[in-house]
Every structure is written in structure tokens, then in C-alpha cells.
Symmetry: C2
Subunit: 395 residues, 2 copies
């Protein structure tokens, strides 16, 4: 299963010579990335950000993997949006991912739209955006691109790879593809394979995008439009799956929005309607519709057991990685049963594994929110792993 | 709460003089239907069908209420589609709703598109379809239109009112609006109010329809098009909520559709994708997009407790109706907790109530499917109620 290490093959760059924030590297110019679909990609750009400082023996590297619509700026202010990073609660001095102790890397995944090569970026062969000519990628391809970045940075091993949702899939894939490079792994609110229901919700989103006439078969860039309506509907449908029924009831219930009585019309009478519409509209401003198709597809294709001959335990055979698996009680997108499946496979592979199901009514999105028990659990696990790795406490 | 009885006000008709199947009545010509929104509707047409024979003292009438996209042809061959009726398992000689014993009436609900007045029908004031000029209706309005049909048919009392999902909402509304007319009531897989999550899913569907440029603000009939893409997406999203995660896994899992390996494209690689697309495409042929908006809105507005001053028990105060409440273990759209809420309110109102939660992995749609325990439970309840009502066994 292990894909081993490869020679460094990359140059640091700012893709377009402009003042795009964050760090960039052009990879695969000499040896292209061989994708699961059979295509080769290279040279290609990866956009990433780092926090903290690499220690002398390069033993303090934490790779943070983002979710479907995430980006490479989890901590502090996101320079693209001016808003607080998506995991700022987790990353910073004295926080769980202590930037005084760890060197944290976060890379925008392959196929995304925040600087890493994806359908939105220019295809050097044609001079226009890839659109649907971009090859369909997998979670394993994303992880390969991350490993290439580490090679480029001269980093052999990860102290920890950590992430929630699709980030957790990358964590699991790292442990299967590059087990010797991972000291500890934290897959949160995730699954080892997409279920029929998971695929079904993603397919609804894709159909919503592709049904929008502004999609133009993925070539909307040629028409100066974006399939905003379809992408907004896709986001609305997905967003429901990120929250729990109880959380929606607690937060919105049947409360009306800025009115005392029904309007007997099709406006946003209910707060929950107004909230969802807002989620859809704001998403369109920050995400590329084709990237949404590509990344949901990669998630649907994810099935770590199938990639290991049908037995998930085989994916982890001989692992010496320390695992901490975390799920949330109200997550119905990747319910605790999915984490249990992972834990059972890890147990069968005689891996070191901690498993915690955390009580929360915030649904799948709990991993992004203020859930103190999660910070306590992860802080304890990481501290113990750091001591085992010979990393002192933060300065 | 009771809305009492009104003088008959209707004529039997075949709306357009053509050979449209089923029965029709034009109601409200003298006294229009006062809708919850304040508007008055009349004259308007209701399309309905009957099965079995009315007995001499008119004591054997069963009103079957259909769900969101249902119709007035639950039994035998649906003359509109040529396919078997949606509750043919339940209705027929010797079946639970024994047509040798009961006189069964099923009316297409107000706002629907199978002959009863709704946004698709011609507005006599303008000579073109109502479209969005059709008033927004409620579950209570649907029930009022059913009561007007009974008045027109000279039927005072119902031996039973029965239905699943939105049909169950009508059942509950009947018991609140016309308690003295209902001997027994069977709300199945339903709720006394739409939750935030229920509303959220419906709002996604409405936004999908309204985002389709072919919707034309509801006036697509003027443009010779239908918002097929948006309506298909709406149906796909809704359909996921009708099935359980376990049911989807059992039926489809991650099986591929007519292929051995991923195509690395955006076709329907997975069976569940192909199935959902088929559900969306075929729905468009049989349902009106504006009706979908109106009926989902009516469901979202449904909140029987709010209509009774906040306490659900008040809706049933003084009732002498015999209730049988049925839920299904894997129904996550209207989970068993919603049925328990209804049962607790009925208990608080000192009503006669049986409650059964039936084990099924078929999700919300269980009420439409072959679930033998449901037939056993309902057959037993109805037989006991029929004996109490003095109705003999089927001839």
C-alpha cells in the first residue's frame, strides 16, 4: 500500500507574479503526478500556508487537511476573505495545535479553487481554464500532491496529520499511502468510505449545478457567467446535512423571519429559510462550481477498504501510527458507526488507537465549532504523542 | 376548533367535458371556500375517486388522504398513468381497506395537479392558468375542501379518515376541524408540525424550482416550457429524505451502474445516482412545478398546536374519535418522536389511542410499501372500530 518517498521536484513561486496571499510551489515539472484516473499532472501549483516554526530535526510538522470547501488558511485572519480562519479555535499559540510547539502546514487540495491547480486555473496547454478538461481526481491524488509538497520542503515525516470530514479522509489515506511518514493521525467526523446516502446528497448538488444553464457544460468562464443559482441550491442541500435536526430546532425552530405571521407567499417566512438562502448566496461568491463537482466526486469515490482488497484493516496493516478517532453524537452525515468501523479495522491491525464520541447537538459541523470536549480530547492526545516524539511543551 | 357542517353546495361535472378519468364536483359556487390566507375560492373543482359501495345508513365511509405528490387513484390501475395505484396494497376486496365493507373516497388535494383546482388549472377570471395568482393554501384548506365534497355527496360522517405523511396531517386536521364527523382516525408516518429540518429540505426544493429560468416566475405556461431541471433536482433531494440510510445501503450500497470501474467523470457511476436521476426525470412528467411549491408550503405552514393556542392537546379536546397512530423505526423525515408527541397530546385529551412503531428499514416511504406488520396492525384496528360502529365483515 505504501507509496514511499520520492525525490523533491518543485520550485517556490507566486503563480502569477501578483500579490496573491500565502505560499505557492510548482510541483511535478520533472516527474508529473500520476493520478488514479491514469492521467498525469505536471507541472502543477499547490497553494499552502504555514504557521509556527520548523524545529531543527524537522520532527514537529503537523499537516492540517481541510474539508470540501475549506482552504489553506485555517488560522488567524484569512487573507482572501478578511474573516477568521476556519480552525482558528484549534491553531495558535497555546491552542491545541500550538504554533509555539508545532510547525503547521495546510495545503489547498488538488481540484480546489484557492490557488492549487484545479478546474478554475489556467491549463497551460490551452491558455484558458481547465474546466471539465481537468482530470477527475481522488482523495489519494490529493494526498499524493501533499506528499510532493513535503518532499519539496525537505520534510520526511509528519508528527501529526489531522482533519475533519474530507480532511479526515485525507488523514486515513495518508496512513494507508505513506504509513512510515505519519507518527500520529487524527481523523475527525469522517468515514472510510462514502455511503449510498452520502453519494446521493452529493449527486443532488452536482445535478443542481449542472442543471443551471449558466454552467455551460463547465465552460462558464467562456460566457462571463457563473452557475450561481445551481451552486447555491447545491450548498443549501449540503448545508442541511452539516447540521443536526436538534440543532436546527434549537437554533431556528419554526421562528418567523422579521414578521409576526405567515405571508402566504414564497418568500423566506421562516428563519431557517432565510438562513439557508444566505448560506447559498454567500457560498457562490467564494467557491468555484466546477471545483464543487470535482471535490464531491473525489469524496464519493473514496473507499479505503476497496482500495485495499476489500478489508479496511489491510489498509492499516503493520502501522505504527498512533490514532485518535473522534466522532460526534449528532453527526448524521458521517455518524459514529462510521468511526467505529475505522476503529475496528485499526484494532484488527493491532494499531494504537483512541476513540472518543463527543456529545454535541451541532451535527457534522461540530468539528469546526466551539466544542470544548473536542479541544480537551485532542489536546491530551497530541500532548502525549508529542512527549513520545520527544517534543517539549510550547515555548 | 370545530368548523361544523355546511349546506351542500356543489354540482357533479367533468370539468372540461372531455373524458378525464375519475369523478369531479364543482363546489363553492354559492358559498365560496374561505381560505386561511383570507382569500375566497369558488367555484372550484375537486377531482376524486370512490371504491366500494355506500351502505344504507352511510356509516361505512373511509376518506383516504394522499401525500405530497399523490393522487385520487390509490387502488387498482391509475387511469392517468396505467400503473398500479399508490395504495393498492391497502385497498381492495379483502384487503385492509376492504372495498366489500367500506365506501372509500379519495380526493386530489386542493393545489395539486390531477384535476382539483390548483395553480395548473384555468383561472376563470383570466382564462389562463392560475400560476402564482393561485392563493397559498394550507392543510386546513385542503380539509375544508374535502368536507365540502362530503357535504355535496350527502355524507355526514366518516367511519375513518386515514393517510400517511401529508395524508396524516390531513387526518389530524380533520380530527381538529371536524371532530364530530370522524369515528376513527389513522395518521401514519406523520407529524403535528413541520420541523426546521423539514422546512429546510422543502425550501431547497422550492429554490431549485424557482432557480430554473424556465420557471418564469411561475408563468411557464406562457412560454411553452416547464422548469423540468429544477423540479427534478427538487424531487431528487426530497427522495433521499423518503428513504433510510440503511435502506439505501441495502438496496444500492456503492454498487456501480452497468460498469466495472469508475469512469472518472460526472456520469451516473453509482447505481444510487442513476436511481435518483430516474426519480427526478420521471417526476417531472407527472407533476406540476407550481403545485410542488404550493403543497410543500402548505406542509411547512402546518402546526396544529400553534393553531390551537400552542397546546396540541387542545386540538383534540373532547374528541370521541378512536385513533391509531403508526410510525416506522427508520423514518427520519417524521421520526417516531413526532408520533409520540401526537400520542401524548391525545392522551392528555383523554382520547382513545393505539400507537404502534413498526420496525422497517424502508424509511418514510414504508407506509407506501409492502410492510406486513402495518397491514396487520391497521387491519386489526379497523376491524375493531368497524364492529364498534356496527359494520359487519365484508360480504
Amino acid at each position: 500500500m505504501s507509496e514511499g518517498r520520492k525525490a523533491a521536484d518543485g520550485v517556490e513561486t507566486t503563480t502569477d507574479g501578483s500579490a496573491r496571499p500565502g505560499k505557492f510551489a510548482v510541483l511535478g515539472a520533472v516527474t508529473p503526478l500520476k493520478l488514479d484516473c491514469g492521467a498525469e499532472l505536471g507541472p502543477f501549483t499547490v497553494a499552502y500556508e504555514t504557521y509556527g516554526a520548523l524545529n531543527a530535526d524537522k520532527s514537529n510538522v503537523v499537516l492540517v487537511c481541510h474539508a470540501l470547501t475549506g482552504d489553506q488558511f485555517p488560522a488567524g485572519e484569512n487573507p482572501l476573505t478578511g474573516r477568521t480562519g476556519w480552525w482558528d479555535r484549534m491553531i495558535g499559540p497555546g491552542k491545541v495545535l500550538d504554533t509555539d510547539r508545532y510547525f503547521i502546514i495546510c495545503q489547498n487540495v488538488l481540484g480546489s479553487c484557492y490557488g492549487t491547480t484545479g478546474p478554475k486555473e489556467i491549463n497551460p496547454a490551452t491558455g484558458e481554464p481547465y474546466g471539465l478538461s481537468f482530470p477527475v481526481i481522488t482523495i489519494r491524488d490529493m494526498v499524493r500532491a501533499q506528499a510532493m509538497l513535503l518532499d519539496h520542503l525537505g520534510i520526511d515525516d509528519l508528527f501529526c496529520v489531522i482533519g475533519g470530514s474530507m480532511g479526515g479522509m485525507q488523514v486515513l489515506q495518508w496512513c494507508a499511502s505513506f504509513p512510515e511518514r505519519v507518527f500520529s493521525a487524527v481523523p475527525i467526523a469522517t468515514t472510510s468510505k462514502h455511503s449510498a446516502q452520502n453519494i446521493a446528497f452529493h449527486e443532488v448538488g452536482r445535478q443542481a449545478v449542472m442543471a443551471d444553464p449558466n454552467w455551460h457544460g463547465g465552460a462558464y468562464f467562456r460566457h462571463g457567467v457563473v452557475p450561481h443559482a445551481g451552486l447555491a441550491v447545491a450548498r443549501m442541500a449540503a448545508h442541511i446535512t452539516y447540521m443536526s435536526e436538534a440543532g436546527l430546532t434549537r437554533r431556528f425552530g419554526r421562528n418567523l423571519q422579521d414578521r409576526d405571521a405567515f405571508t402566504y407567499g414564497f418568500g423566506a417566512d421562516f428563519q431557517v429559510e432565510s438562513y439557508l438562502r444566505h448560506q447559498g448566496i454567500t457560498f457562490v461568491d467564494r467557491f468555484d462550481a466546477n471545483s464543487y463537482l470535482y471535490i464531491t466526486r473525489a469524496m464519493d469515490y473514496f473507499d479505503l477498504a476497496a482500495d485495499s482488497g476489500g478489508a479496511l484493516a489491510k489498509a492499516f496493516q503493520g502501522t505504527s501510527t498512533r490514532f485518535c478517532v473522534v466522532s460526534f453524537t449528532s453527526d448524521w452525515l458521517y455518524p459514529t458507526a462510521e468511526s467505529r468501523t475505522i476503529v475496528h479495522a485499526l484494532n484488527a491491525a493491532a494499531a494504537r488507537v483512541s476513540f472518543v464520541e463527543i456529545e454535541s447537538d451541532k451535527g457534522h459541523d461540530s468539528f469546526l465549532l466551539d466544542v470544548p470536549e473536542m479541544f480537551t480530547v485532542l489536546g491530551g492526545f497530541l500532548d502525549a504523542a508529542a512527549r513520545a516524539r520527544g517534543l517539549g511543551a510550547g515555548s
